[in-house]
């Protein structure tokens, strides 16, 4: 008896499974057609894997912009913005497949997001070939270095700009003989040379430099090597998981040399302090390109996100700005043809023009034919000729009693 019942259950399962699979495959064709064709924008961001923690805040910010613009009547006389969001899994190969799907199945006009340089590097040629706009939140210089027909826009400070900031923070603390412990990764490696140059320019010295591989089971050897040289301070640009292990080894070995790191390692939306506890984290300085925290636009953005007033979103603001700038450029150019609207991006985001903070107000001004200079939630949104962002502010913080305290904003 039980045997027969078992067989029936399995059949049901198989039937339902097949039905679900058919439905999933047929999905793109069975969707209802809309009256006015929406403007589709793709987003490739990490929800799983090493950088998975940042995906949901970026999604929320992009949805916020889309909802506000759609509620105010959409773009180009009533076409709504439709977002299609894909998980990059923090992996270049998955990022490429996601990009292909957005371009070829969903036929998006632009793809935004792109947290993580390897993913952007692997995907960018696809967007260039398709003639669609790519907006990235990653730092490696190489992303915008090669010709890209003006299609790539970086909503982040590039890596070479990070190094001197770290150097200045350490010099201000009186650390002149410093050491570097850096992760082997395209974004971190390109900030090491500018860091050294700035230290040396101001009369300091980099006495030791160790490059470590990501995902090591232990960092004991590296920690001993770097802290054993007894520097005044150590700069450790890395990511959350490896930085957590490094700080644990450092504590276990009884070192007390001051550490300076990046906020994606030493904060990561509070994950770092959660990982190591307040005692180990005490006194670690960290910095990151940050939104203009005191600007009314950022404050309003935090309210709209429904977060506590002192929240520091490192990447949500970028997604907010990316979608806003894309929408403004489409409206200004009067077309969804990416090769055309990408050319007017500087016209809506760079000075001169009326400084405007709100994407919906900015759209109004664009429709009236006024010159505007859009100021985003994450940055001022000013770009140079190759699509790199200018004038990023860096936020320098220190961990005291298990909390991140603001030290200064470095322009």
């Amino acid at each position: 008896m039980t045997g027969r019942k078992y067989t029936l259950t399995r059949r049901h399962l198989l039937h339902r499974g097949t039905a679900a699979a058919t439905l999933a495959l047929a999905a793109p064709w069975v969707r209802p057609a809309h009256a006015a064709e929406p403007i589709r924008i793709g987003i490739v961001i990490p929800f799983t894997g090493a950088s998975g923690v940042y995906g949901s805040e970026m999604e929320q910010a992009a949805r916020l912009v889309a909802r506000r613009i759609n509620e105010a009547g959409g773009l180009l006389g009533g076409r709504s913005l439709e977002l299609i969001i894909e998980d990059s899994e923090s992996q270049p190969t998955s990022g490429v497949v996601a990009t292909r799907k957005l371009l070829e199945v969903n036929r998006v006009e632009a793809i935004i997001g792109y947290w993580g340089s390897p993913i952007a590097m692997a995907s960018k040629q696809l967007l260039i070939d398709a003639g669609k706009v790519m907006m990235v939140s990653c730092a490696a210089n190489a992303v915008t270095e090669d010709p890209h027909d003006g299609l790539i826009w970086r909503f982040q400070a590039k890596s070479t700009q990070w190094g001197p900031v770290g150097a200045r923070i350490m010099l201000n603390k009186g650390e002149r003989r410093v050491a570097v412990l850096a992760q082997q990764n395209p974004f971190v490696i390109s900030m090491v040379e500018p860091f050294r140059a700035e230290i040396e320019r101001q009369g300091g010295e980099v006495i030791r430099e160790v490059i470590y591989n990501p995902d090591q089971p232990s960092y004991r050897a590296e920690v001993e090597e770097i802290f054993g040289t007894d520097p005044d301070g150590v700069f450790i640009p890395g990511l959350l998981t490896d930085f957590t292990s490094i700080v644990k080894e450092y504590y276990r070995a009884g070192f007390d040399t001051p550490i300076t790191s990046l906020s994606i390692a030493a904060d990561a939306n509070g994950k770092f302090i959660e990982n190591v506890g307040a005692e180990l984290a005490e006194g670690i300085h960290h910095f990151q390109p940050a939104p203009p925290l005191d600007s009314p636009n950022y404050k309003r953005f935090v309210r709209e996100m429904g977060a506590p007033e002192d929240t520091i979103f490192l990447f949500a603001g970028n997604a907010y700005d990316q979608l806003s700038v894309a929408a403004l450029a489409i409206e200004k150019a009067g077309t969804t043809e990416a090769r055309q609207w990408t050319r007017v991006i500087p016209a809506v985001s760079n000075p001169p023009g009326t400084r405007v903070l709100d994407p919906v107000e900015a759209l109004e001004l664009v429709r009236r034919g006024e010159e505007i200079d859009f100021i985003g939630a994450g940055s001022d949104c000013d770009f140079n000729d190759i699509g790199d962002q200018l004038n990023r502010h860096f936020l320098h913080r220190v961990i005291r009693d298990g909390r991140n305290e603001k030290v200064q904003v470095i322009a």
Binding site: R10, F47, E59, Q91, P92, V97, P118, Q125
Partner: protein, 308 residues
């Protein structure tokens, strides 16, 4: 949609080549290769570097296959005294060595920055996206050739020898078979096929960096072989297709399900892939296909042993 199917099929073809290679090494010859991704990466980098240096596709492919097969032969020769699980550890170590070398020898491999702008062989077919379809055709030709080679090997006396070594190497040695030579040959041929997969990967993506070659590639190949039925080449083709469709097809989930947030859906998708494989293994543990066996009836009749 058609264009994306072309992408998926290209990935399926590359995954199937890897699975066929693993089936030759592990399925037929019993050599567990946990460092599969290392050989795959070696093939990809060798083909990419040769292509970037101006070698034609055929030369780049040949170079990649020879280099990788030589490394495979060396690994197999070094570990010829090791039983199954120890070979697994050696190959796992080899995979790590390759990854760390690629990551740190920047003068050759571009280090963490990777190698951009790899020229790929073009077979431009008419119509929009013709070059993608053309590349898919190349991949399918490569897959067909790989399939013919492994299937021919499996049915040849050498295939019988591999299965004998897998099932009991002492018996094979007692019968006068050179077990070490068989193992080295099988492993090297498998590695040459992995290099073929690697070269296609490098050409398909046009940009390679060490973060693309994570152990998950090895895991997918094992999944394909287990799902397809260890030892059965036709089953492996289906297995690789099923695994890749499960992984990539589930991307369409979010186009139908709008009531779950994207981050939850992303996690759910990976859970579903895992659950699908577990269900598959519960209900069909032997896999989809069966190993090639020549039935006794097809052999010329031999006199029956005298009954006592």
């Amino acid at each position: 949609m058609i264009a994306f199917l072309v992408t998926i099929l290209t990935l399926v073809a590359i995954a199937a080549i890897l699975a066929l290679a693993l089936n030759l090494q592990w399925g037929l010859c019993g050599m567990v290769n946990f460092g599969l991704v290392g050989f795959f990466a070696l093939g990809a980098y060798a083909a990419a570097l040769l292509s970037l240096a101006g070698a034609g596709p055929a030369l780049a492919l040949l170079g990649a296959m020879v280099i990788t097969a030589a490394c495979g032969a060396a690994v197999a020769a070094l570990s010829h005294r090791l039983a199954e699980e120890y070979l697994a550890i050696v190959t796992l170590g080899f995979g790590e060595v390759v990854r760390l070398t690629l990551l740190n020898e920047s003068w050759l491999t571009g280090g963490a920055l990777g190698l951009p702008g790899i020229p790929s062989p073009t077979l431009r077919l008419p119509g929009p996206g013709g070059e993608h379809v053309g590349f898919l055709v190349l991949c399918l030709i490569a897959l067909a050739l790989a399939y013919l080679v492994v299937e021919r090997l499996a049915r040849a006396p050498f295939g019988r020898l591999m299965r004998a070594v897998r099932d009991d190497d002492v018996v094979a040695a007692t019968l006068g078979k050179d077990v070490v030579r068989v193992r080295i040959a099988a492993f090297a041929i498998g590695c040459a096929l992995l290099a073929l997969g690697g070269a296609l990967h490098a050409w398909h993506f046009g940009y390679i960096d060490p973060s693309q070659f994570t152990p998950i590639v090895t895991a997918y190949a094992f999944m394909a072989v287990i799902a397809g039925g260890r030892g059965s080449n036709p089953g492996i083709l289906v297995g690789a297709g099923v695994v890749m469709l499960l992984i990539e097809g589930s991307r369409f989930l979010k186009d139908v399900v709008d009531f779950v947030a994207a981050d939850q859906l992303a996690a759910l998708r990976l859970i579903l892939i895992g659950a699908g494989l577990i269900l598959f293994l519960i209900y069909r543990p032997q896999g989809l296909g069966r190993e090639y066996r020549r039935s006794a009836a097809s052999f010329p009749t031999v006199p029956a042993p005298a009954s006592s």
